[in-house]
């Protein structure tokens, strides 16, 4: 294929602008769909990653039963943690965690935040790091010290934006009738879209939460860390057996707790997001194939209409491959321009979609590449047969056609 062929193909397409435009439309819609749905798919995967980014991959979580058998029959307690840590070979760290929402006030402002009551180990388990101050000590977490480490969201709520976290250390927050001294501020986690955001939370010693804040209404969850990523399964099994033993469950009885490891939780969520991506991408692929059939149809009509032109080109010395190249060039140019416009529309649509609530769409260089490549391939694949048919026309018959 040379420049002449491309030039002639362009001219032929321009001679029939409406038809060229319409046949391009399918590709435009197809490619913009690819850009958008791949963006949605990647967005949902990113969402999952954000949601769980504070979850250590080696962590194992034990929760009470939900529904019918809930609170009353759930016996998990902070004592389970000690029992597991004392007996397990594959478990490193553990803590009980109480979680609930409480109203918090500073001066005249008040707002609801998540409160986590735990030992200092929770900072390791949840990959939390400090912007300022310190975490509570083991002693403090055991003796109902009135201390708290606040999330960045709490800082931003009660103090002006850009306040240095160091300056709020020693300030007092009121929760219920308790006054908690701020001893640390968490680094901003940001962009987290899930329920596990620690930005809008404050952490207090477990005993404090149990005694004054949440103990009467909430049951603890247990967080453990396995010794490393490879032993998570072993640790999970071990914790399950130890808890059953500690709860004195007979072999026939079912667990009175639920146990998850972080890996499988993230895995399940990632699987869902991946399935969504595959599903959406298949829809886009189908749209592209249908648009390819549209192009093929148009190319057939074009070949039929321009039979005489094909005869003329043969009479003046054009070879079959010249005619093949020209018609193929036309369909590839159509689909390629359609692809470029589609990429443009898709990329322009993404910011608009992101303005909608609950939409999270990512730009992806890969989908641009795939969308473009696919559109060119559609042009070649669906343009080839009509072009071949054109090139094989008998010149005399072609010249005679009206």
């Amino acid at each position: 294929m040379n420049f002449e062929t491309l030039k002639m193909a362009f001219e032929a397409l321009l001679a029939n602008k409406v038809r060229s435009g319409l046949s391009m439309l399918g590709i435009v819609i197809g490619v913009s769909t690819v850009i958008i749905v791949v963006g949605i798919g990647l967005g949902s995967q990113q969402k999952v990653a954000d949601q769980y980014k504070n979850l250590n991959v080696t962590s194992v979580i034990v929760m009470g039963m939900r529904g019918r058998d809930s609170a009353s029959s759930t016996k998990i307690s902070e004592k389970d943690v000690d029992y597991v840590l004392a007996n397990a070979a594959y478990v490193n760290v553990g803590t009980a965690v109480l979680q609930g929402n409480l109203d918090l006030s500073y001066g005249k402002t008040s707002s609801s935040f998540s409160v986590f009551g735990s030992s200092a180990k929770f900072f390791d388990i949840s990959n939390l790091s400090l912007a300022a101050g310190r975490v509570f000590t083991e002693d403090e977490s055991g003796n109902t010290a009135l201390l708290t480490v606040i999330g960045n969201g709490v800082l931003e709520k009660f103090w002006d934006e850009g306040t240095d976290p160091e300056t709020v250390l020693g300030e007092i927050l009121t929760v219920g009738n308790k006054k908690l001294e701020i001893i640390g501020v968490l680094k901003e986690i940001g962009s987290s879209t899930g329920p596990m955001s620690y930005d809008d939370s404050l952490l207090v010693p477990y005993s404090t939460a149990a005694k004054y804040l949440l103990g009467s209404t909430t049951k603890p969850n247990l967080y453990f860390l396995a010794t490393d990523a490879d032993t998570v399964d072993l640790a999970t099994a071990e914790i399950e057996l130890l808890l059953r033993a500690n709860h004195k469950l007979k072999a026939a009885k079912e667990n009175d707790f639920r146990i998850f490891d972080a890996g499988s939780m993230v895995g399940a969520a990632t699987d869902t997001a991946t399935t969504l991506t595959i599903l959406l991408t298949s829809v886009a692929a189908i749209v592209l194939i249908v648009s390819g059939i549209g192009i093929m149809n148009v190319m057939f009509v074009t070949v039929t209409e321009r039979t005489r032109e094909i005869g003329i080109i043969k009479a003046v010395g054009g070879e079959q491959k010249d005619i093949l190249a020209q018609f193929l060039a036309e369909s590839v140019i159509l689909s390629m321009i359609g692809g470029i416009i589609g990429i443009g529309i898709g990329e322009i649509a993404i910011p608009f979609l992101n303005n909608l609530e609950d939409w999270y769409v990512l730009h992806s260089p890969i989908s641009i590449f795939v969308g473009f490549t696919f559109s060119v391939l559609v042009g070649i694949f669906f343009g080839f047969y009509p072009a071949l048919k054109a090139s094989r026309l008998d010149p005399v018959d072609a010249l005679r056609s009206e």
């Binding site: 002639m8 003046v316 010395g317």
Partner: protein, 233 residues
């Protein structure tokens, strides 16, 4: 001195209908055409004139017999690129209905054969412009066929046929769609071409056109009935 350009030996051509039935069109043609001759092909419709012209022009393959062009047996060639090469370099076609591409300008139409001869753009345009000027269409190079008269369109078609400086002009009723004045102009261009020792083969129905030819070959039912008929000019 005889310089044989085209030689046919017992050439047959049949078409096959969809039901497999054979329809013979040419039934044993023996013909010699010298270089620089202007030959008219006449005869009733369905006599095989156009088929003969198309075989000479390598648009049709012959069914049996031999076709020598400049002493070479080209009747046996079936390869597309080789036939395209012969058409491109040796032949210039002219049709009753002009067969110009209406989306292209006169200049682009004339330059078309040179594209397939892989001649560079600038050279192509220069030669096409010169050709259009030589046939009195120097002012019309940017016009498209629908903006030109029938006579002008046929002259554009002739310029296109001459673009690659062919040996033979093959004209299938070139004056059939033209008034007599335009027809006369076309015939004069053919005569000039002949003056340059090139060959013209023309299928025609009209004695006004045929009288310009050196001789007339008559065909009837796929056979040549007269080789050497002449009309008074």
């Amino acid at each position: 001195m005889k310089d044989v350009l085209i030689k046919f030996e017992d050439v047959h051509k049949s078409y096959f209908l969809a039901n497999g039935e054979e329809v013979p069109v040419l039934r044993g043609i023996d013909l010699e055409i010298q270089k620089g001759e202007f030959v008219a092909l006449m005869g009733e419709s369905g006599g095989g004139k156009s088929t003969l012209l198309n075989i000479i022009g390598c648009l049709h393959a012959l069914s049996s017999g031999k076709y020598f062009l400049e002493g070479r047996d080209i009747g046996v060639i079936r390869e597309d690129y080789a036939l395209a090469f012969v058409r491109n370099k040796k032949m210039g076609f002219i049709f009753q209905s002009f067969n110009l591409l209406s989306r292209m300008t006169a200049l682009q139409n004339v330059a078309l054969p040179a594209i397939y001869a892989r001649i560079p753009h600038a050279e192509r345009e220069a030669r096409a412009t010169k050709l259009l000027q030589s046939i009195g269409l120097g002012e019309r190079v940017r016009h498209r066929p629908p903006e030109l008269s029938g006579g002008q369109q046929q002259r554009v078609a002739i310029a296109r046929a001459l673009m690659n400086d062919p040996e033979i002009i093959l004209a299938d009723e070139p004056t059939g769609a033209l008034d007599s004045k335009s027809g006369k102009e076309i015939m004069e261009i053919f005569c000039e071409f002949k003056e340059r020792n090139k060959t013209v083969l023309m299928v025609t129905h009209t004695p006004e056109a045929a009288k310009y030819a050196d001789r007339i070959v008559f065909l009837k039912d796929g056979k040549i009935t007269s080789h050497d008929y002449k009309l008074e000019k």
